[in-house]
């Protein structure tokens, strides 16, 4: 027995696992392996302040460099794990090294979904997931440049907002009939569409990209049968979980590594946390979450389980997006069958949409509306019945509704 805790992946979830393991008094040696050149860093600012140039690179890192040696955590960077040998409890690294583990945490994250159309591999087609991606994009992200964004989700729209602010000529192509369709209600989609258009962003809805063309580099995008000239293409069409390692090791995985309420896989020595996982959510359905909240909370639960203090994971998921001066905060998971209650007027640029299910708050989308978000999250966690007419009445403060 090696006694080691090995963490595969050096992102937000892996970093949180180290922090909680140590806070819970687990003193086993920890080895964390990351395939990027950097120690754990925050990804959310990448598509926002970091791209804009308002946030220097050192500020991205979650911990000071000396944290890792002081915490008894060996960091192996620029290295991937190529195989797990469960019977021997050994992982194999891309540099040939083999490491024994007593407990293994898979925090492998997700990778960007790649565009598969003709011309998708032309120089000038960018993705946004890592520091290296943004550093590459920034070189060409200059005022006057024409950028075509494929995908009107969080990443695409955050880049659109930064681009408009920096004076780029921005066009967004979205295959669905509205923006952020997977994440927000139609009212919020329409509000964001108007805000982007006010800032000069051109939106093309129901417009899937058919091809990218150019002579040795991106020159135009073909969408909806029409040709749109551009200098840069940024693709933001979602992510896929990095679960191959688990699949190849015979662990349960299907679009995400399957874990229980303690972030444990089917192997009692292996846990999995963050974007790479799939779990039964608090509402009893299998879900896969791609967010900071899940990375942090699932890693905490995995660490508690490893420390012998298991606690059931049932936190309410939360998300946020910054576009222009608008802060979008979402708690809970909406369903198309929820009944919607609007609170506040979008024209004031401060409003919220509550999703009720069987009379109880199931989700809230809040735009520049922190009380609605915070109280909404609390109502969802408590599973309380709420009167829709109270939620809709701005003269009743949220605190009274709680």
């Amino acid at each position: 027995m090696s006694g080691n805790i090995v963490i595969v992946g050096a992102g937000q979830a892996g970093c949180q696992a180290v922090q909680t393991l140590r806070a819970e008094g687990v003193d086993a040696p920890i080895i964390m392996i990351g395939d990027e050149a950097y120690p754990p860093y925050q990804r959310p600012p990448l598509s926002k302040a970091y791209l804009l140039g308002n946030f220097e690179r050192p500020r991205l890192f979650l911990k000071a460099d000396h944290y890792y040696p002081e915490s008894g955590c060996e960091l192996i960077l620029d290295t991937s794990v190529t195989a797990i040998h469960r019977a021997e409890r050994i992982v194999e690294l891309s540099n040939g090294r083999k490491l024994g583990y007593d407990k293994l945490v898979l925090a492998t994250g997700a990778r960007v979904r790649r565009l598969k159309c003709r011309g998708a591999d032309l120089p000038g087609v960018h993705y946004l997931k890592t520091i290296a991606d943004v550093d590459g994009l920034q070189k060409v992200f200059q005022p006057g440049k024409r950028i075509t964004i494929v995908g009107g989700g969080y990443i695409g729209l955050e880049v659109a907002a930064v681009g408009a602010k920096r004076g780029l000529d921005v066009t967004v192509f979205e295959a669905m009939d509205r923006l952020m369709a997977r994440a927000v209600s139609p009212l919020v989609s329409d509000f964001y569409a108007r805000e982007h258009e006010k800032s000069g962003v051109k939106l093309k809805l129901r417009a899937g990209v058919e091809a990218i063309e150019g002579n040795g580099k991106v020159e135009r995008v073909i969408a909806g049968g029409e040709s749109h000239a551009c200098d840069i293409v940024l693709v933001g069409i979602g992510v896929v979980p990095c679960d191959e390692l688990a699949v190849n090791a015979g662990l349960g995985a299907d679009d995400g590594i399957v874990v229980d309420q303690n972030a444990r896989t089917g192997d009692p020595y292996i846990w999995a946390v963050g974007d790479c996982t799939r779990h039964v959510g608090r509402e009893g359905h299998e879900i896969r979450l791609e967010c900071v909240q899940n990375a942090i909370d699932q890693a905490k639960h995995a660490a508690l389980s490893m420390a012998g203090k298991p606690k059931t994971y049932s936190e309410v998921p939360w998300f946020w997006s910054d576009q222009y001066d608008l802060k979008l905060q979402i708690a809970g998971l909406a369903r198309p069958t929820d009944s919607l209650v609007q609170r506040g007027d979008p024209a004031t640029r401060k409003f919220a949409v509550f999703h009720l299910r069987d009379g109880k708050a199931a989700a809230v989308e809040a735009i520049n509306a922190a009380p609605e978000y915070m109280i909404g999250k609390k109502l969802i966690a408590e599973g309380k019945t709420v009167a829709p007419e109270k939620l809709a009445d701005l003269s009743i403060p949220m605190k009274q509704i709680a």
Partner: protein, 111 residues
């Protein structure tokens, strides 16, 4: 020009004090996190989205800080054990005026 740094003292709820240097322009939340000071969670990384970086500003320093924005005010409403001198440290930027500021940390950041 090299980045200017100024002193901040963070005092844990146990009384343990840490005096560190924080670069101009950085938030006082980042100053604590980068120096591994226990007692600041900052789950959202400074987006004013989680209310887990509350600090209590020591007497005399409050007047030197910009007022709370609406967003900070409302997020603070939901932090545990809020006092009149509570602030979210992610919303406070280091500058020459704040050189020497003293911040007390709450026992817990999650309600």
């Amino acid at each position: 020009m090299p980045v200017q740094k100024f002193k901040v003292t963070y005092i844990e709820s146990t009384g343990q004090a840490h005096t560190v240097e924080v670069a101009e322009g950085w938030s006082l939340m980042e100053g604590a996190v980068k120096h591994l000071i226990p007692g600041i969670d900052a789950d959202c990384g400074g987006a004013c989205a989680c209310a887990t970086c509350q600090v209590y500003v020591a007497p005399g320093w409050e007047a030197k800080l910009p007022g709370r924005t609406d967003m900070e005010e409302t997020m603070l409403d939901f932090a545990p054990e809020v006092k009149p001198n509570s602030r979210l440290s992610c919303q406070l930027r280091m500058c020459a005026e704040l050189d020497g500021i003293v911040l007390n940390l709450p026992k817990v950041q999650h309600a």
